[in-house]
């Protein structure tokens, strides 16, 4: 030993007298053995990033390395558990997380009953045999995603959204309903009450595919915004390492990180205390490469054992002031395969999930369309294209209608506006609170879209045949709009479609 602390500035701690220490090694600081990680070495002097509140720690306090980098204890015991950023179990921890009173278990330490199968350094990607094409769709149960902006297993998604746009709600829905085998939910610097909600709901819900509890396929890493900031950074890496572990056992894992902006802020704060030269908006210049390396850990692979598994990463981004040009948003969208932008105007008009159809993208749609066709749904791509073009056209016309009034538009354009309304209200909106609507199967989603498209086609035929647009607009379309909440099966949706078509037929 003989190493001691020489300077403390919040989470930044400087030490001297460390012998044989390596970069990224975990050190323990002071009598309380606060965990930290070496981020710079200069001879026997080291700069350490502490993972706990350092209040009361003074120069002269002893410290020493534990001789290995920050490692995640991996094993099946992780499923169903709630952990902090260093993968220490929270369910058995005290009500108040006082570092001074925490049992002296080093980072990654566990109790005897849950012996991890192995340890793996969280910052090092786990090896695999080869990368496979990411062309198998991940079904999320959210129509706007599955129909318009799908993500493959092994894909990467950024979800930027200002506050109040329902970001966390959307991610929670995906955590609950997507058809992956393992969900790693990393709550990174977000609200404690939301975290409590996630935990309570996961414990109550059943997994529709296995009949077990939904919590049993989930690993929650909870690092709420009042928990130590630097552990956010560790939590993100711990989360992806856990997902890789399950991938290597032939599972499809999804990492949901809410929010990566808080992680970037932790990097910024530490860089600033360390006196690093700042890049954009004070973020460290290494931020883009850190983000890129993180998202590159996603992928569908053949494992060393020959099995197939995948890690999908969905990262929320919280742009300050809703500014989509700020660094974290701007960097992240370059490294991801899909972006689901959440729109403030949609959210304020209570359109949830508020995924903007004009500002989002999904770069794997062509590959996924081929897969859907091979799996017996050749109509998938056609539906997507039609929806996207109708929505775009309706948006263009809505701007025009605001200027000149709807009544001056020709009939077929008024039907496009109607189509936009029906698609938005009857397909894209989805109520997280409704038992029927919270999650939607691919078949039912397709039936809902086809119902709206069939109705729209019939309306176009009618105006083409001379029926006044006003007469059509005055029809009660609520059976179609409400089908998503009131028609639980594909057959019910089809019945509503036929009833609606018959009623429209009476107009001609």
């Amino acid at each position: 030993m003989g190493a001691e602390v020489t300077r403390i500035n919040g989470p930044l701690v400087e030490m001297t007298g460390l012998r044989g220490a390596a970069m990224d090694d975990v050190v323990e600081l002071g009598a309380g053995r606060l965990p930290g990680e070496i981020v710079a070495l200069d001879g026997a002097d080291a700069t350490v990033q502490a993972y706990e509140y350092t209040g009361g720690l003074a120069p002269g306090a002893p410290g020493g390395t534990v001789g290995r980098p920050l490692s995640a204890p991996l094993g099946p015991h992780l499923l169903g558990g709630v952990f902090d950023g260093l993968l220490r179990r929270l369910s058995t921890a005290d009500v108040w997380l006082d570092p001074a009173r925490r049992r002296a278990a080093g980072p990654g330490g566990g109790t005897a009953d849950e012996r991890p199968a192995e340890y793996w350094p969280v910052r090092r990607p786990r090896p695999y045999a080869e990368r496979l094409d990411a062309d198998v769709p991940l079904h999320t149960g959210q129509r706007v995603i599955d129909l318009l902006f799908p993500v493959p297993r092994g894909g990467t998604v950024a979800v930027p959204g200002g506050f109040g746009t329902g970001k966390t709600m959307l991610l929670q829905q995906i955590a609950k309903w997507c058809d992956a085998d393992v969900i790693v939910y990393v709550g990174c610097g977000e609200r404690g009450n939301e975290m409590a909600d996630v935990l309570a709901e996961l414990a109550e819900l059943d997994d529709p595919r296995t009949g077990g509890r939904l919590a049993d396929r989930t690993v929650v890493i909870a690092n709420t915004s009042n928990m130590p900031m630097m552990a956010r950074e560790a939590g993100v890496y711990s989360g992806v390492t856990v997902a890789e572990y399950f991938r290597d056992r032939g599972k499809d894992a999804v990492v949901i990180a809410d929010s990566t902006s808080r992680w970037a802020e932790a990097l910024r704060e530490f860089a600033s205390r360390g006196g690093e030269l700042p890049g954009e908006e004070g973020y460290p210049a290494a931020l883009p490469s850190a983000l890129a390396a993180f998202y590159e850990r996603a992928g569908r692979v053949r494992t060393l054992d020959g099995a197939e598994g995948s890690v999908t990463i969905i990262g929320a981004v919280s742009p300050p002031g809703g500014d989509m040009t700020e660094p974290v948003t701007a960097y992240t969208e370059r490294f991801v395969r899909a972006r689901w932008s959440l729109d403030k105007d949609l959210a304020y008009s209570r359109h949830y999930p508020a995924v903007s159809w004009s500002n989002s993208f999904a770069r794997d749609t062509a590959a996924l369309a081929r897969r859907h066709a091979a799996a017996g749904d050749p109509g998938w791509e056609g539906r997507r294209t039609r929806m996207a073009s109708l929505l775009a056209e309706a948006e263009r016309l809505a701007v025009l209608a605001e200027l000149v009034g709807t009544s001056t538009l020709p009939g077929h354009e008024r039907m496009v506006l109607l189509a936009g309304d029906l698609l938005r209200e009857g397909v894209l909106q989805q109520s997280a609170l409704s038992p029927v609507d919270a999650s939607c199967t691919a078949e039912r989603g397709a039936a809902l879209v086809e119902a709206v498209l069939a109705v729209v086609d019939r309306c176009q035929e009618l105006v083409g045949g001379g029926v006044p647009a006003t007469a059509i607009e005055e029809q009660d379309f609520s059976p179609i709009v409400r089908a998503r909440e009131e028609a639980p099966s594909v057959a019910d949706v089809a019945a509503r479609r036929e009833a609606m078509l018959r009623r429209l037929g009476d107009l001609s």
Binding site: G56, A58, F163, N193
Partner: protein, 474 residues
């Protein structure tokens, strides 16, 4: 290390706090201050001083000041403070006494009595920095705190354990509203207390707040902490922490529902920026420090409920948006942490409506858990949804009316405009000293809704509509 701790044990009597310590100079005192810059000073030669320790500073005049350790190395310690000449360190981060002794007291921003009473004592003490609550032990908020303010109770119901800020701008009556909420709020007959932390208030404002809260203070339900505009910066950084430490104890140890009202949070953030700038830290947006989000979260996240314990901490921060800009870092980062927001509108204020709450811009994310059968009233969620939908429609009608003239609007649209007027007059407008029961509030909402044609009320069950509509329109 060990030696120092022993020394701390010897010289630190149990339960010591801000008020009792300044005369104890048995710890090493440092009289050399090498550098003073803004609110910061560097003390060379101080040894074994821990980070975030609390410091006592004596001026040449004998006056006492306080400081916090921001950076500590072997040979020098950076202390955040105003000027001073003789410094001692407490050997630990700041702790304060906690307990019911705080109830009914009026203190300054550091918790020193302003009411002529003795120093506040408590059986226990707690660190003002707080200790994070294990998320596994959090209980999601469920029941309401009723504020007695119709616009809030009806449309943005506050849940016990929620954090719901008031976004305002200079010149609007946010302080009156905050004080009114603090004076009227209750939790359905369960033990209820209010901690009001005034940050950076002018003397006139502080006097007005004291006046409004006099009754509650006399009843022993209130802790009032007054940090005035001319108080030292460090005090402003500590005041919210002291308020929350007191509140946490009252809630989770004494089983009370505690409402913490604090404002102006913009003044708090400016204090933080001032210190950050003096330290030469790399600034982020609008020169606020990069850790503003984390710092605010360390305050706001201290509200909530703990599984298996009675009591709750509910937080209503008040902030003025500089220039009315909601994307300014202070409201923006606050919005990312809090569970909704109550937005005050200049337009409504100009039209003489108090409280000028702009319902369409406001939101309580936890309302669906706090309102409804068994919590408030069965028809509450439906009424609130219908009022908001009608307001959105009325706003569109008003905008259209401004373009084409009200006369060109459809009959339905004109009824919506009538509704909006009735809504403002009957439901929103309220006296500053007028508490309203929930039933009164919801009946007022109904009186506004029945201005609309019955067919427009699509979000409410028929039976409820029948009960409220005038007979001739059924």
């Amino acid at each position: 290390m060990t030696e120092r701790t022993e020394q701390a044990g010897r010289t630190e009597p149990a339960g010591r706090d801000v008020r009792a310590a300044p005369d104890r100079w048995s710890r090493p005192a440092y009289t050399r201050v090498s550098r003073i810059r803004g609110p910061l000073m560097t003390v060379p030669g101080a040894e074994g001083v821990g980070w975030d320790e609390f410091a006592d500073i004596r001026l040449g005049t004998g006056e006492a000041r306080h400081g916090l350790v921001l950076d500590t190395a072997r040979d020098r310690v950076l202390v955040q403070v105003l000027e001073g000449t003789r410094v001692t360190f407490r050997g630990a981060p700041l702790r304060i006494p906690v307990g019911t002794g705080w109830l009914g007291r009026v203190c300054d921003g550091l918790g020193e009595p302003l009411d002529g009473g003795p120093p506040v004592l408590g059986a226990d003490e707690a660190p003002v920095a707080g200790v994070p609550l294990n998320p596994v032990h959090r209980e999601p908020p469920a029941d309401p705190v009723l504020t007695g303010v119709s616009a809030i109770d009806a449309l943005t119901t506050l849940a016990r354990g929620q954090k719901l800020p008031i976004f305002s701008r200079a010149g609007l009556p946010h302080l009156e509203l905050a004080a009114q909420i603090a004076a009227q709020a209750s939790a359905g007959g369960e033990p209820f207390s209010v901690v009001f932390a005034a940050l950076g208030l002018t003397h006139a404002d502080a006097a007005a707040v004291r006046g409004t809260l006099e009754e509650r203070s006399a009843a022993g339900d209130l802790v009032l902490l007054l940090n005035l505009a001319d108080a030292p910066v460090i005090e402003r950084i500590l005041t919210p922490r002291i308020a929350l430490t007191v509140a946490e104890h009252l809630a989770f140890e004494e089983g009370r529902h505690v409402l913490v009202v604090m404002g102006d949070m913009t003044a708090y953030c400016e204090a933080l920026r001032e210190v950050s700038a003096a330290r030469g830290e790399i600034p982020a947006r609008r020169a606020y420090p990069g850790y503003l989000y984390s710092d605010l979260a360390s305050l706001y996240e201290r509200c909530g409920r703990v599984r298996g314990r009675p009591g709750s901490v509910t937080l209503v921060p008040v902030l003025t948006m500089p220039g009315g800009d909601i994307t300014h870092p202070v409201p923006d980062l606050t919005g990312y942490i809090t569970e909704g927001q109550i937005v005050l509108s200049e337009d409504l204020h100009a039209r003489g409506v108090y409280p000028p709450v702009e319902a369409l811009d406001s939101l309580s994310r936890l309302m669906r858990k706090a309102a409804g059968a068994g919590r408030t009233r069965a028809d509450h969620p439906g009424v609130a949804a219908q009022v908001l939908a009608a307001l959105a429609r009325a706003r569109r009608a008003r905008e259209l009316g401004e373009l084409v003239g009200t006369a060109a609007l459809s009959e339905t649209d004109r009824r919506y405009l009538d509704f909006e007027r009735a809504y403002l007059r009957t439901l929103v407008a309220q006296g500053t000293a007028e508490p309203r029961s929930l039933d009164d509030t919801l009946e007022r909402a109904w009186r506004a809704l029945v201005v609309l044609p019955r067919r427009e009320l699509t979000m409410l069950p028929g039976a409820a509509i029948d009960a409220h509509y005038p007979r001739e329109e059924r």
